[in-house]
Subunit: 415 residues, 2 copies
């Protein structure tokens, strides 16, 4: 048992199924952050920690921590998030939390103190599905939560973020104090589903994750002239909708050209009726690339080429940045350790860049961090169909368990 | 005065301004059919008819008629519609009704009975803006109103069409009886704004209208696979949104190729968020052409070419017809008379095909009918910016008055 007590993947999966029983339903997982289902999920986590004699502590940002004291510190933090998108999947986030619990349980049941303190963390509001701000808790921890930018946010029912957080014992202005815990943590690793089709397509059961892509998300607004569908000759139109359609196809081409991904998943026309040429169109452009230089080139190409499209169609173009984040590289030594654990546990030495953001990306700003991915069946996530074959789940959990045990036992070299 | 008493265009415009004062506002005309603003418009029309000693009669479909008895029948009907789209323009429909009133006023004030009875008609619910069924009153008159297809309709507030019509004294099941009045009418002519940019671009003040284009309106629904914007490689996407964008551009090209007009003014993505590839997309395709054969060819091309686009992108395509109408030709002799009147009054012998539908298209199914168009400034209609230069309005009203007087005096040869 040179790597420490082995994780029991079967029990991790049983915990996930119990969570799904309590908080899922015919439409999928209902653990929207700060709501009833999310609180029910945390109650279950509290019960499971209590079974190990551990207490669930909450920090000022609503993150939940549960520590198994080791022979020394600072701690190895492991976890993910229990919150889900509405009608989400049973594994997104929950897998990493329950796998982290499995690591604590392995040491606890072995009856030996780990060489280093092991801390489970359930980050608050990773999804940002209610107020549009993803990675809430982990960015409070890393120090990038700009409270002033959040204060005006309201949920779909018009309720202010401050009120909703207060109901959950979190005072928005005090949330950044969650960063005070940074000194107690040496490193962070997280298990998560891939949420994409690559591992399944390659027949792999796990992969180390080397970082997260950078993202440029911009709103492209085209202003042409709304006019009657029947009375406006083709050569007198300034069709903002067609300008946006052409832009969407060009953005796709730019993604391919640079080896990144580019998405135009939201497009709205005004007036948006069949009998009028669209006078206004708004296209959301999401560009992602692991390399900062390529990402900047993608954005530059999109700007120049879409401006030309708009001009050719007699439309004004306004581009507004919605959100951006630089590519984030995980700690090379932790990535190497994750790769080694995946190879030993599953035979896969694949290293992926994550196209999605994760709490680990926030943590990686201030501490060594890395991730392990499990496959997603058909690449589907954020939907009730989200699933992972049981054998893949077991393999991924075991690879993560091996990684955590190694790091606790001394593979960890805090920078 | 060989053409009968001249219409007073200045008073017609004054009536239009009074209508705008009573039913317009900062957001434009508010005369949505069956509502308060529309009833206020009709009250004004009733007052103006009463000034001429005439009574406003309503038929079973809610059309309003006002007759100036002539030396004989059947009558020449003249008019248009007082209802508007929400936030509409001051002239759309109203111009034709107030010009018709001006024709009646000219004979009435001249104190001579016209050689033929002159009947003003204000058709009910031309716009169909509330229940989606355009040309309600005129199709009841022409016999094409399929009551069974309307019974289930509800407005945006969920109110059934039957209830709303009842409040306005119209019983849906009895509406087709409005056709009983057909025998009393020999022909119909209507003045309307062009709602397009052609006359203004050509520097013309009026045009005769030879008919209305045929329309094919279809819903194209693309089903791909919703997936994560960050984790789905470009070559594993089945992006329904991009399939629809490509289809929209192809439909544009088809319109140009056939010399018609084609519009894709409504496009909706699902889930419709920036961080997901669109799994579903719905594109409304509106094709118009004055020639039935070309219109059919446009639809055939759109079907074949869009199916190929969908297949290439791994999407399913479902096409559902929403609405269609064959091209409608106005009566050649009436069109010739309208052209002659426009030439004499304004120097324009231009003949246009209307790309929009009008009540005259319904009437033309059962009676000789024709129209005169006035220019629309910048081609804008269905918006508060809708306007026509005063000199153009005067010229168009005078051309229409000349046409009506000629037809009343014997230029009318009912077929």
């Amino acid at each position: 048992m040179s790597d420490g007590p082995a994780i029991d993947a079967g029990r991790v999966i049983a915990d996930l199924r119990e969570l799904d029983r309590r908080t899922g339903g015919p439409d999928g997982a209902q653990r929207l952050c700060w709501g009833e289902g999310w609180r029910a999920a945390r109650s279950l986590l509290g019960e499971l920690l209590a079974e190990l004699g551990l207490e669930a502590e909450r920090d000022e940002a609503g993150n939940l921590w549960g520590s198994l004291e080791g022979e020394g510190g600072p701690a190895l933090a492991i976890g993910s998030h229990l919150d889900s998108v509405p009608d989400g999947g049973w594994l997104d986030g929950a897998l990493g939390v329950m796998a982290a619990l499995g690591v604590l349980r392995a040491w606890s049941e072995a009856g030996v103190a780990p060489p280093r303190t092991l801390t489970l963390v359930d980050w608050a509001d990773e999804e940002g599905a209610r107020f549009g701000r993803s990675l809430f808790g982990s960015s409070a921890f890393s120090g990038t939560l700009a409270v002033d930018e959040l204060r005006g946010l309201r949920d779909g029912d018009g309720r202010p973020i401050g009120d909703v957080l207060s109901e959950n014992g979190v005072e928005l202005d005090r949330a950044p104090r969650a960063g005070g815990r940074r000194g107690e943590v040496a490193a962070y690793v997280e298990l998560h589903i891939e949420q994409g089709p690559v591992l399944e397509a390659e027949g792999l059961r796990a992969a180390a994750v080397s970082g997260c892509v950078g993202i440029e998300r911009h709103r492209f607004r085209f202003a042409g002239q709304a006019s009657h569908a029947g009375t406006t000759p083709m050569d007198r139109r300034r069709d903002a909708g067609l300008a946006a359609a052409e832009a969407a196809l060009r953005v796709e081409e730019i993604g391919r050209r640079h080896g990144g991904v580019s998405t135009t998943g939201a497009l709205a026309f005004e007036p948006g009726i069949p009998t009028a040429v669209a006078g206004q169109a708004e296209l959301m452009v999401d560009l992602r690339h692991p390399e900062a230089g390529e990402l900047a080139a993608m954005l530059g190409d999109a700007r120049a080429e879409v401006e030309a499209i708009a001009a050719r169609r007699g439309c004004e173009l306004e581009m507004r940045p919605v959100w951006r984040i630089d590519p984030i590289r995980f700690d090379p030594e932790l990535v190497a350790a994750a790769r080694q654990a995946c190879t030993e546990a599953t035979g896969s030495d694949r290293v992926l860049t994550s196209g999605a953001l994760h709490d680990a990306a926030e943590v990686a700003r201030v501490l060594p961090a890395a991730m392990v991915f499990c496959p997603s069946a058909a690449g589907i996530s954020h939907a009730k169909e989200e699933d992972t074959f049981e054998a893949d789940l077991v393999a991924g959990i075991e690879a993560f368990g091996l990684l955590a045990h190694r790091l606790v036992r001394g593979g960890l070299q805090p920078t």
